[in-house]
């Protein structure tokens, strides 16, 4: 092979400037405007990220160590007490506060308040473990809510580890039998392995405190429904520390999981959330346009689930769903799950933000089509107005 000539030819081709499409330029302009108008702010470095913060960090670490010594002394003396000590007072309050501090809080419309209102403190019975301690890290689950479609539970971590404390988020890791490589943790529901919407992790709330709200879809279970008597088990064998937008260290294997610091240990939680679907509103329907069929809408206190059939002829169009309420407000799509059908079509279970609306319009766009000059949206494939209960 004449490597030099191939390199030269590849350079010529790949390094040529290509035309940036209008949609990209427009989005860049929007971003620049947000920056210039002060809608987006450059974050200040936290004290511990500055050199001057070293002594402060040392003081905090020493104080945290004292606290843990005192706490662990109490717990060692009376392990039964550990279960009764509230690790964090108000996890939902912290989650809400963290969300509001983000510059794009409007992008995350998770119905925290509704989840909080419906969540119940977990049973503190002998068979259940809601707090686990190891390696100076305390992990606990305090509240949970299951509407039959999704399961939510709070997760909090408390640590005195000064290095771990520099993390923006901590991922839970688990090891499979005889495998030394850590994976992102999973849950077991009545013994079945199941993964939440996101990795099981907690974000920094304050020095030494990390909190998270985990969400598991029933669709991730084989039966696609939560069992009536549900026991959830979380068995973590490690904690991986991460920073936002970090550059992975090539010297640390599996950095994406393990992060810049990993603490191995054993934290096992076992809890039993109860299912309460009494506030769900389910509407079976058949609203069709251009082969697209809206089949079902389930409105839960936390989100809106729409089941849609898409014909096989749309597969190459990369169809995008947009749901608006009767007033024309578009609902943010949280996620979707896809079920290929034998006829080449597809059933999509799309999850949108919570809404109190009962009139909707679903629009399906051809995301792969060339945008007409001056057009704001790609070509429309289908438009389906429908109502739920």
């Amino acid at each position: 092979m004449n490597k030099l000539n191939i390199d030269r030819e590849m350079n010529e081709l790949l390094q040529n400037d290509i035309k940036i499409p209008d949609i990209v330029n427009e989005r860049l302009e929007i971003s620049y405007e947000k920056i210039q108008n002060g809608e987006v702010h450059m974050k200040r470095l936290r004290p511990q990220q500055r050199k001057k913060g070293f002594y402060k960090a040392l003081t905090i670490a020493a104080a945290a160590a004292c606290f843990v010594l005192i706490l662990s002394g109490i717990l060692y003396a009376n392990p039964a007490l550990a279960r009764d000590i509230p690790i964090l007072g108000n996890v939902f309050g912290r989650l809400q506060e963290m969300r509001e501090k983000t510059p794009y809080s409007e992008k995350d419309k998770t119905a925290y308040k509704n989840i909080e209102q419906h969540s119940k403190p977990l049973k503190q019975e002998a068979d259940f473990i809601t707090t686990a301690q190891d390696q100076g890290i305390t992990m606990s689950v305090s509240e949970a809510y299951c509407d039959g479609v999704d399961l939510y539970f709070t997760l909090s971590l408390r640590t005195d580890d000064a290095v771990l404390n520099t993390a923006d988020s901590i991922d839970l890791l688990s090891y499979r039998k005889d495998d030394p490589i850590a994976f992102w943790s999973w849950l077991e529901i009545n013994g079945e392995e199941v993964y939440p919407y996101t990795t099981i992790s907690a974000k920094k709330s304050e020095e030494g405190v990390y909190v998270g709200l985990l969400r598991v879809s029933a669709l991730n279970l084989k039966a696609e429904v939560f069992p009536e008597n549900m026991t959830v088990t979380l068995n973590a064998g490690g904690m991986g520390a991460h920073k936002y937008n970090e550059i992975p260290d090539p010297n640390i294997p599996n950095y994406a999981r393990t992060g810049f610091k990993t603490v191995d240990g054993s934290w096992k939680l076992r809890f039993q959330p109860s299912i309460d679907a009494s506030d769900n509103q389910t509407t079976e329907l058949y609203a069709e346009n251009n082969g697209v069929i809206v089949q079902k809408v389930v409105k839960t206190p936390t989100s809106t689930h729409v089941t849609v059939y898409l014909p096989g002829s749309f597969a190459a169009k990369n169809p995008a769903l947009a749901l608006s309420d009767g007033a024309g407000n578009r609902l943010y799509q949280e996620t979707a799950k896809f079920f290929p059908q034998a006829n080449g079509g597809q059933i999509q279970q799309a999850v949108f933000n919570y809404t109190e609306a009962s009139d909707f319009t679903l629009r399906v766009y051809d995301k792969n089509a060339k945008m007409e000059e001056g057009a704001e949206m790609p070509p429309l494939l289908a438009e389906i107005p429908f109502s739920s209960n």
Partner: protein, 177 residues
């Protein structure tokens, strides 16, 4: 460029915008080669620009700005790919052929379309961005040997594809199988 990064870190918004403009071509090439459609590429680029602005002060070494920015973009692209992975096979996506008129763009996109996924981003980072093998390893979280292997196989694949489409290549006679 390092001075521009420092100015931007000190709060100079115009300096930051100049930095993004200077890297716009690279951002678009990476995003479109990973996502294969302009709408998703625009989403990923916008998120990257806003997120990088917010976190710019966390970048300790200005010389790593390009690596850092690329890594953020690739993270956003991967997130979009994860969200849509079950939707449609990118091999079925006709956009790259149908909607591009400019010939240099078409050549670029045609080439990318035909390259296997695992080689595409490595070749792009190496040839377009000029990243070293070590830097690519860092950005893609791969060890250097994997990067080298993918680069070598990608280059070989490119050669076959390019000569198939350009039988009149001026290098044809010099290339040996």
């Amino acid at each position: 460029m390092d001075n521009l990064v420092k100015k931007a870190q000190s709060g100079d918004k115009e300096a930051f915008i100049s930095l993004i403009e200077a890297h716009k071509q690279a951002l678009y090439k990476i995003a479109v080669s990973m996502l294969k459609n302009d709408a998703d590429a625009a989403d990923a680029i916008q998120d990257t620009v806003l997120s990088s602005y917010e976190n710019l002060r966390g970048l300790r070494e200005p010389k790593y700005f390009k690596t850092w920015l690329s890594r953020i973009l690739i993270n956003y692209c991967n997130r979009i790919l994860t969200e849509r992975k079950n939707m449609v096979s990118i091999d079925e996506c006709p956009e790259l052929e149908s909607s591009k008129a400019d010939s240099s763009e078409k050549d670029f996109l045609d080439l990318l379309k035909q390259l296997e996924e695992q080689y595409r981003i490595v070749l792009l980072l190496f040839y377009v961005e000029g990243f070293s093998i070590k830097e690519i390893g860092t950005i893609l979280e791969m060890n250097e040997n994997t990067v080298k292997t993918r680069l070598s196989r990608g280059r070989s694949n490119f050669k076959k594809l390019y000569l198939k489409e350009h039988p009149d290549s001026k290098y044809k006679m010099e290339v040996q199988e």
